[in-house]
């Protein structure tokens, strides 16, 4: 029987984009099914209502939701639909996925991240595992992502610097906000090594994309120039231009059908008219972002896979990862600086490309000797005006604020300080209390069971987050910031998610093999962040891009 396509990819984000581009370039016919609409630079504006207040790029929770399971004081786990709680776990359901909306802080993992268990040993209650590949297997693809996605930065040697096959980044850093001089100075005084954060943002036009226009509204917003290295702008447009790649938007995949050999034979989906469709391919790639990938595979039962595709050993959906850590803020009060300095602090547009990795690995008695640490990134408070103003609506006693008092507070909040924030990224240890399953009752608008997510965390994550936050606070203090506050919690950031289909050499403890092919399915790959057994202590996107380029090479050789 002949198939409709060589490759069918479900999901068009950072996991799907590289495979689509590489295979289309190799002359293979590629179909991408994307649940969301196909928005382009012509549709993305600096519209706070669209991106952030009404969440126009993600589903309405009444139509599609999750069930979040949290632990209660009595030890029980209880689920609540996000339609009731309003806790939105969606991230960019559009062509290009959530890579359209990222801030593009791009970091590689480090060699030791690939063998966390061997390097640091077991931690009670955590399912830490070494990766089945090494940094050196992935390095050429990190390098490839730099040129294909367009990553800007400048190489700086430091104690945990990861080896590179190329000398420097293909693009120089984006223009920087004057506040970086204050960060650098404070770090120097503290003996910290202030690093330039690489960004997936083009500082100048290239590859048919415009350079950054520095509007100051980047994270959470779709890019209007194409400078941001989303899978859509950087990869899919080029894939489509080969003539070999077709993208079907508004296509909601509900199931992968498999045959008696256990291999995938068709994808069932609803098109934009809610009509059921079926399409076939030689090879299938799932990249719906971690939670939805596990959900789709769990829903895809068949004769050889009665518990879901690749779930014969009950590993599917397990060891879900978020990013642990915390965040903090300090206010740079204008009145404390001379006029020119204050005006510089007010500047809107350029980036704060600064981070710290001095404690990526820790050797400190306070942490019990050698331990895995993480990354600190600095950024300005998001310039979104409505959300800033909304925070003034309630006073400390939960009474509404209105009238002249509200207006006075608005005037003050918008005109007193530039707020410098930090974010801490450390490993979210995989545990038995963080996983995806299917909810037995709650369904989405197509009638499919929704993903139920248990969001337990490991206490160790908080210890590391606290350790790193204390270092970041020193920088804010040294800079003379006022009203410094921070929080470290086990609450998962829904936009930093991986795991659920970890890769490994043993089918009994992993879903995917080291090529990211489902162990006991011949023609099914997973290329989003689901494959990661441990997450490293950086945002995931560069690693997802790199691994997808790696898997693309493997698929290319097979078909």
């Amino acid at each position: 029987m002949s198939q409709d396509y060589d490759v069918c990819i479900i999901g068009s984000g950072a996991g799907g984009g590289p495979v689509a581009l590489e295979l289309a370039k190799a002359g293979k016919s590629v179909l991408i099914l994307e649940k969301g609409p196909w928005l382009t630079e012509k549709d993305y504006f600096k519209d706070e209502l669209a991106c952030c207040v009404r969440s126009a790029y993600t589903p309405q929770l009444k139509d599609e939701k999750h069930v979040i399971e949290e632990q209660y004081q009595d030890g029980s786990w209880q689920g609540e639909s996000t339609e009731d709680s309003g806790w939105d776990f969606w991230n960019g359901n559009v062509v290009g996925g959530s890579s359209n909306l990222m801030s593009g802080f791009f970091y590689r993992l480090k060699e030791k991240d690939f063998r966390l268990l061997s390097e640091f040993g077991k931690i009670e209650g955590a399912n830490i595992a070494d990766w089945p590949i090494s940094y050196h297997d992935l390095e050429p693809y990190y390098a490839k992502a730099e040129t294909e996605v367009g990553i800007s930065g400048r190489v700086q040697q430091h104690q945990y610097f990861e080896p590179r096959s190329t000398k420097d980044f293909p693009y120089p850093p984006t223009i920087e906000h004057p506040i970086v001089n204050r960060i650098d100075k404070a770090c120097e005084q503290l003996g910290f090594t202030s690093l330039k954060t690489p960004r997936a943002i083009l500082p100048k036009a290239d590859m048919g994309r415009n350079g950054c226009q520095y509007s100051g509204f980047c994270g959470s917003y779709g890019c209007s120039t194409g400078a941001k290295g989303s899978a859509r702008a950087a990869l899919l447009n080029r894939a489509v231009a080969t003539g070999n790649c077709k993208i079907v938007a508004n296509a909601k995949v509900v199931k992968l059908e498999s045959n008696h050999q256990g291999n995938v034979i068709a994808v069932k989906y609803f098109d934009e008219n809610k009509s059921k469709q079926s399409v076939s391919a030689k090879t299938y790639v799932v990249a719906c972002q971690a939670i939805e990938t596990s959900r789709l595979l769990l829903s895809s039962t068949g004769a050889k896979h009665p518990k879901g595709l690749g779930n014969n050993h009950n590993q599917l959906g397990r060891n879900l990862l978020f990013s642990a850590g915390g965040s903090g803020t300090g206010e740079m009060t204008y009145s404390k600086f001379d006029k020119m300095s204050a005006e510089q602090l007010k500047i809107r547009g350029p980036f704060v490309n600064r981070g710290l990795q001095d404690w990526y690995f820790i050797d400190d008695k306070k942490m019990g000797g050698k331990a895995k640490g993480g990354t600190i990134d600095f950024l300005l408070r998001h310039p979104n005006a409505i959300s800033k103003a909304m925070s003034l609506k309630w006073d400390d006693n939960n009474k509404l604020v209105w009238g002249k008092e509200l207006k006075r507070q608005l005037k003050s909040t918008f005109n007193t300080s530039q707020d410098l924030r930090f974010e801490v990224f450390n490993d979210w240890l995989p545990t038995d209390n963080c996983f995806v399953s299917l909810d037995e009752k709650v369904k989405d608008k197509w009638g499919s069971p929704v993903a139920k997510i248990r969001i337990g965390y490991h206490e160790h994550d908080l210890k590391v987050g606290e350790y790193l936050s204390q270092k970041a606070l020193k920088v804010l203090k040294k800079m003379g910031a006022d009203n410094i506050r921070y929080s470290v919690s086990g609450s998962p950031p829904a936009n930093l998610v991986a795991g659920g289909c970890r890769f490994g050499n043993d089918i009994k403890t992993s879903v995917l093999d080291k090529n990211c092919k489902v162990h006991d399915v011949d023609n099914l790959y997973v290329t989003d962040g689901s494959f990661m057994p441990t997450g490293g202590s950086v945002p995931y996107t560069w690693t997802i891009y790199a691994n997808s380029f790696r898997v693309a090479d493997i698929i290319k050789q097979r078909i």
């Binding site: 396509y5 016919s29 590629v30 179909l31 609409p37 196909w38 928005l39 012509k42 549709d43 504006f45 600096k46 519209d47 706070e48 209502l49 669209a50 207040v53 009404r54 126009a56 790029y57 309405q60 009731d84 226009q213 509007s215 100051g216 509204f217 917003y221 209007s224 489509v240 003539g243 070999n244 790649c245 077709k246 993208i247 079907v248 938007a249 508004n250 098109d271 934009e272 008219n273 809107r348 310039p383 005006a385 409505i386 103003a389 909304m390 609506k393 009474k399 509404l400 209105w402 009238g403 002249k404 509200l406 207006k407 608005l410 005037k411 918008f414 005109n415």
Partner: protein
């Protein structure tokens, strides 16, 4: 009608001494009933209810001062009307905004023998603080404040913040490009089907 009565009673609860707390949470209890869009379309003129009362409440919540814009200056009412008529507003919200006006005027008549628009500034403050004491009343006021803040700081393409008056007042520098009138957020998510021949 039990749901509606419940909310009304809750709103008016400030009049009842030692009333029991009614089991109302979120907007769930309102979801079953929608206020027809027609109610708004027919009355989208400022001198008719519910707009007359809403404009007055908005002016109280966000007053015009000598050097700063108030509800009228930021086109708060026009913004709210635009949003209420937009396709993706939660029906329960639409209903709550409408019902709250009726409840407020009932309360006002009960206490002052006047509708809300005829109260003095002090009486308005007093009755709105009273209304805030109930769950439904607090939700209603909170919703109106939310739309006021949006009218102040959202892009002028949505009918509030004319010529960026709110941005200018707060020295807020908006991003660019600014939204196109044909690309408002509720038009973006519409299913589109684009394929390029493979």
């Amino acid at each position: 009608m039990a749901d509606q009565l419940f909310s009304r009673r809750d709103f008016m609860r400030v009049l009842v001494t030692a009333a029991a707390a009614y089991p109302i949470s979120g907007l769930a209890e309102l979801r079953s009933k929608e206020t027809s869009l027609a109610v708004y379309k027919k009355s989208s003129v400022i001198n008719k209810e519910p707009w007359l009362t809403i404009a007055e409440v908005q002016a109280h919540l966000f007053p015009t001062e000598k050097n700063s814009p108030g509800a009228k200056d930021i086109h708060a009412l026009e913004y709210l009307q635009t949003m209420i008529l937009s396709p993706d507003i939660e029906p329960a919200e639409r209903k709550l905004i409408h019902d709250g006006v009726g409840w407020l005027n009932d309360l006002s008549k009960q206490q002052y023998s006047k509708t809300f628009v005829n109260l003095t500034a002090d009486e308005k403050e007093k009755i709105l603080r009273q209304v805030e004491g109930s769950n439904a009343g607090s939700r209603w006021l909170s919703l109106l404040l939310t739309y006021l803040i949006e009218a102040l700081l959202s892009d002028p393409v949505y009918a509030g913040n004319p010529k960026g008056i709110g941005w200018k007042w707060l020295n807020h520098q908006p991003g660019f490009p600014r939204p196109d009138k044909n690309k408002k957020y509720f038009k973006l998510g519409k299913p589109r089907y684009r394929t390029i021949k493979g």
